[in-house]
Symmetry: C2
Subunit: 303 residues, 2 copies
């Protein structure tokens, strides 16, 4: 099953050096989820060949402009190109009021159903779930209410071991129950254990998105053992004071957190405008977490 | 005196084909004015080498997203790069409420003074004036409250004819009053008419910005005899029904209006996403107004 993330924006605060404010697209089994939606996200989607109308769910971490100012434009463009499908937006208190006010003054009556779901930043909670994925929000520590999001792939049923099943001569009608964990009793009385008749699925993968936050231990329980951790790394560690003052994190801290929670991969992003060259940020992260990667716009990263 | 317009966005409604939603920069004697501010305008300013902090006044025609969704991001970025100078924004009722709501939830306290001035769409009114220019808003006919803006260059004093003044031997202390229209009485009693001692300045130029509007005669009094008319031309005339239904204009109508008001130049823009190739729109306008030009992003047009 496909489970990848496309970086649409990697810049913090202001667009610069061709980098855009934060947005990511998650593909889970060919269903698309948008996480944050900085100004210009709709243009980035076009640039990377993504049809906006394939997105059914948008998750907004917080109401700093660089994380959501592209949302009204994207919602409007979906309307203008004739979208009919529901759109669900998940975000902090205030987001619905802002959307409503824009559409009040533009006198826009959307041609598709828009549902705005309010997240809360006090505890972890499941905000969306379907057959492929469960999405949870969890509190981060930023200057204003801010949540991360975790995408947990659903555990899939094992695959039938076709060769073994054929060798034993098990009828096809029995296969669904075997997949669901029931042993097979052959006509001669032999019991075949379902584990011996199936191939175990890959363990479900987990992706955690942490932007923006100062380093605390409070959110680590929510990102334990993820397959990929996206963590903001706004500054080099030499700017730690500035990171703390602005409720952000350094590239070193992001890597330390990845180690601490046992993440398999680390993707850093949300780069300050002071870094035209990103290599020092990457080197700093890799000094602690050698598998760290830079979030680069237009790149797909498998989770 | 410089009086030029830079096109930052030429698309209607949605960004497409590398075209951006509406924004224009007017340079009057090296002072910069922004007219409309579609999503991504701050990136366009960077692209074309314009420092956002040189802009002191922003004029918003109406509250459809493609004309103002870049404003909050631009105001925020000016804040983040340490702007101290006042910023004045002129726009319809509701704009201030929208700005306030964004900054309420982002808990932003701007480090510079921001003044939002509410325009009204019932009559023409002067919204800004300094030594170089007078900016007036005037009502257009769109689905929601919408104004155009006219930039009237101020009449300048004539220049002294240095040769004549030297030949007569007029003392320098007399020159300011001559420039202001006072005749010179020589010690021998001869009266020298100020007109004979000065060189008339170029007549003041006028630029009118009309977007978005359906064609009516109601706004023509406000754009008479302008040196350059920017007029939306969202559709080809074969789409007249659609233009009327959406309160927009065709390329033919824009040209007819330019003829009717005696405009010296015509700039068309606000192109529908249905036109990848803009030549047919230009040809249609030129069939009526041969000097018509396409508004193309990144181009400066002298007024």
């Amino acid at each position: 099953m496909r489970f990848d993330v496309l970086i649409l924006g990697s810049s913090s605060a202001t667009p610069i050096y061709g980098r855009h404010p934060t947005a990511q697209l998650i593909n889970v089994n060919e269903q698309l989820y948008l996480v944050d939606c900085g100004e210009g996200t709709q243009v980035q989607l076009i640039k990377y060949g993504v049809k906006g109308n394939r997105i059914k769910h948008i998750f907004i971490s917080h109401l700093h402009g660089d994380h959501y100012l592209g949302l009204i434009g994207l919602i409007s463009s979906m309307h203008l190109v004739g979208r009919k499908d529901e759109l669900h937006v998940y975000g902090p208190p205030g987001l619905e009021e802002i959307i409503d006010l824009h559409f009040l003054y533009s006198q826009t009556e959307l041609r598709y159903p828009l549902y705005v779901h309010t997240t809360q930043d006090k505890t972890e909670s499941v905000v969306f779930e379907n057959e492929n994925v469960r999405v949870s929000s969890f509190p981060l520590s930023h200057r204003i209410a801010c949540t991360g999001f975790r995408f947990d792939e659903k555990r899939r049923l094992p695959a039938i071991d076709r060769d073994k099943v054929a060798a034993i001569g098990i009828p096809a009608t029995q296969l669904p129950s075997i997949k669901r964990g029931q042993d097979y009793s052959a006509p001669d009385g032999t019991i075949h254990r379902w584990q011996d008749l199936t191939i175990a699925p890959n363990p479900p993968r987990r992706y955690a998105y942490c932007s923006d936050t100062v380093r605390t231990s409070s959110y680590l329980p929510y990102i334990q053992q993820v397959d990929m951790l996206y963590h903001e790394a706004t500054f080099l560690h030499e700017m730690l004071d500035r990171a703390v003052a602005t409720y952000h994190t350094t590239a070193l801290q992001a890597a330390e957190i990845a180690v601490e929670v046992g993440a398999r991969k680390l993707l850093i992003g949300h780069y300050s405008a002071r870094y035209k060259d990103l290599k020092p940020l990457l080197q700093e992260s890799r000094s602690v977490f050698p598998a760290a990667l830079l979030a680069l716009e237009g790149n797909w990263y498998p989770i």
